[in-house]
């Protein structure tokens, strides 16, 4: 059974806030649900499925949020695999809608990471510790940014990748943010600015790292048939894949990441080729995340990422536009960014992106990364189309 074209994203909403000390996580989530339903032309009464991670919630997680919305859905999923979770939720929702388990599923996220002053990147990698696998890592004090910096070190060591090449990803992303009035950081930067910013975990500079913001967003997912009769042009799901990678007792190939598996599955299932992709939303927790993800998704060969990301290729008017909203590097990153990847891809497919609109955007790829790329992480890939 193939999911291709059977299910669509019918509504999206990105909460405009970047710093909301006046709101709770649940408020941001509820406002996002309302926004996405308005966008689709549906109401809360139409919703019979709900997905969110439950991270940051207490006790029974997603059930508490159902209580907050006074919702009794027929389907819930609180898969929590880090920042990619909401990308995976989209695929899960599509599968259950196609199987007839529910009809209208909302995927939602909210966080007050900035106003609550969470340490995200500088916090511990791989959670608080206590799992059997943690004994090889946690005692040595790894951080999330450190686990990504190791990937960058390895890439530079093996392939001679330059800090300037990583920096260009940050510069391009900021240029996109300058065209997004909601982005937290909008002032253009240069490669020199990135290289002059202080080192956080060598070789990653401050401007190689995603920002910390508050925020939230929601998606409404329903059958293609129903989506065609709603307010906005549907973004059909062509294919999806997900994967995990772990430390594998020290035997892992660092530069082979979950995207290799999830991307291959998504392309196979969608039946499209790399050259068919008009734009991509690639999780950018750090600049190196983008570079390694593009290699693993097969947009370029392993080791060639450094050259691939330069020369304006990733700009909104380049050969492979990515992260046109300004990404986690400049627009928003409340801890888990996956949902914003789907939202921007859908807006691009609808042609709603104003000055940063990618021309003739028909097929978009979304790839979320969750966890720490250098140790345990997840990858989830979607391919969406407006046709």
């Amino acid at each position: 059974m193939s999911l291709k074209g059977k299910v669509a994203v019918a509504g999206v909403y990105e909460h405009p806030t970047r710093f909301a000390p006046d709101r709770s996580m649940f408020q941001i989530m509820a406002e996002s649900v309302r926004g996405a339903l308005d966008d689709a032309g549906l109401t809360i009464k139409d919703v019979d499925g709900l997905c969110t991670t439950g991270i940051g919630m207490s006790g029974m997680g997603i059930i508490g949020f159902c209580d907050y919305l006074n919702l009794t859905p027929n389907f819930v999923d609180s898969t929590a695999i880090g920042g990619s979770s909401f990308v995976a939720h989209t695929a899960h929702a599509a599968a259950v809608i196609a199987a007839g388990l529910c009809e209208v599923c909302v995927v939602v996220y909210g966080s007050t990471a900035a106003s609550s002053r969470f340490a995200i990147g500088t916090g511990g990698a791989g959670g608080p510790g206590g799992d059997p696998c943690d004994q090889y890592e946690v005692p040595f004090g790894p951080t999330t940014v450190g686990a990504y910096a190791m990937i960058a070190q390895r890439h530079m060591h093996d392939y001679g990748t330059k800090p300037e090449q990583l920096a260009e990803i940050a510069v391009t992303t900021r240029m996109h943010a300058s065209m997004n009035p909601a982005a937290k950081y909008r002032e253009p930067i240069t490669v020199e600015d990135v290289l002059a910013s202080r080192i956080i975990s060598s070789p990653l500079h401050l401007l190689d790292c995603c920002i910390i913001s508050d925020g939230g967003g929601a998606l409404v997912i329903t059958s293609a048939e129903r989506a065609r009769n709603l307010k906005k042009k549907p973004a059909y799901l062509l294919g999806a894949g997900e994967a995990v990678r772990h430390a594998a007792r020290g035997q892992r190939d660092f530069l082979e990441v979950a995207a290799a598996q999830s991307g291959r599955l998504a392309f196979e299932r969608a039946g499209v080729k790399h050259e068919d992709i008009d734009m991509a939303m690639i999780y950018d927790s750090f600049t190196v995340t983008v570079l390694v993800t593009l290699e693993n998704l097969g947009f370029c060969k392993r080791g060639e990422g450094g050259a691939f990301v330069t020369g304006g290729r990733l700009r909104y008017d380049g050969a492979l536009p990515i992260n046109t909203d300004g990404g986690g590097l400049s627009s928003n990153h409340p801890g888990m960014r996956g949902i914003f990847l789907v939202i921007e891809a859908v807006k691009q497919l609808r042609g709603e992106c104003g000055p940063r609109q990618v021309k003739d955007c028909k097929i978009a790829l979304v790839h979320g990364t969750g966890g720490a790329l250098g140790t345990r992480h997840s990858g989830a890939t979607l391919i969406l189309s407006n046709q």
């Binding site: 806030t17 970047r18 710093f19 909301a20 000390p21 006046d22 709101r23 106003s115 937290k184 930067i189 600015d193 002059a196 910013s197 202080r198 500079h205 401050l206 401007l207 913001s213």
Partner: protein
């Protein structure tokens, strides 16, 4: 000390006040004694004044907001100029249905207070100008250092520069308290605030202020000096000056007892 949010032009403004708490969107009771609005400095927030709000609360109605982009107020951008901040204070007063109040401004807040008294004199009962200047001496290298922080080239500095030597030696907790509040505002806002402060020159204009005014200064303040305070006192007709020994730029934290007593005396003297 209760706190509350109120929406001003789409921005959720956080403020400290005194008295009974009220439901969301219900304006608290400000009828006790004098209404006094306390405006904080560049890159800072209203927590600067928690000792003042506490001390004034039994007899007066203090109100201390976090300016847009600062502290616990929503949004990530500060405002471009001192007059933009003054316009914001007017909108804030409108929202809280406050016709006029005594305005206490600290440092950048002092410039905002003077601008308010000049352009919206009917909203100002009296002025308390704390550690401020009519023309700030903002060195180019200081601006450059703040810009480097906002661009990520340098870490934020946590030093005792704004404090008297005695405070740094004997009362380090208030220095640490200042640092904890400093990190609640984006460094970009501190930088744009200082740019706004550097641009303003009220030296001639303030001679037209016709409101009771009290000028407060720390004897050991090297940023806004006693000479700056004397200049303001000389220009505003009838203004009184009070200088606190062993205080730097942060007299509200460093010498709260004397500082609060001076405010109370000024409020009692208002007609």
């Amino acid at each position: 000390m209760p706190t509350k949010y109120t929406d001003v032009n789409g921005c959720a403004i956080y403020y400290h006040y005194a008295g009974a708490t009220t439901l969301p969107d219900v304006v608290p009771d400000f009828s006790r004694g004098r209404k006094i609005v306390l405006i904080h400095g560049a890159g800072s927030n209203s927590h600067t004044f928690h000792r003042q709000v506490d001390a004034l609360s039994s007899r007066h109605s203090p109100i201390a907001p976090d300016l847009p982009g600062h502290g616990r107020t929503s949004g990530v951008d500060g405002m471009r100029s001192i007059s933009d901040y003054a316009d914001f204070i007017v909108a804030f007063l409108d929202k809280l249905r406050i016709g006029s109040a005594t305005i206490l401004g600290h440092s950048m807040g002092g410039a905002i207070a003077m601008d308010l008294a000049l352009r919206f004199s009917n909203r100002v009962d009296g002025l308390i100008l704390s550690s401020t200047a009519a023309k700030f001496n903002v060195a180019a290298d200081r601006l450059e250092a703040l810009r480097a922080v906002s661009a990520g080239r340098a870490p934020q500095s946590f030093n005792t520069d704004g404090y008297s030597q005695r405070t740094a030696r004997e009362n380090f907790d208030v220095v640490r308290e200042g640092w904890m509040e400093q990190i609640k505002t984006d460094p970009r806002v501190r930088y744009t605030d200082m740019v706004a402060v550097a641009e303003v020159d009220l030296r001639d204009a303030i001679a037209k202020i016709a409101k009771p005014a009290l000028v407060l200064a720390g004897a050991d303040d090297v940023g806004t000096t006693v000479a700056d305070a004397e200049l303001i006192t000389g220009k505003i007709p009838g203004a009184k000056l009070r200088v606190f020994a062993d205080a730097g730029h942060y007299a509200p934290r460093e010498r709260p007892a004397e500082y609060n007593a001076a405010i109370a005396e000024f409020l009692d003297g208002l007609k």
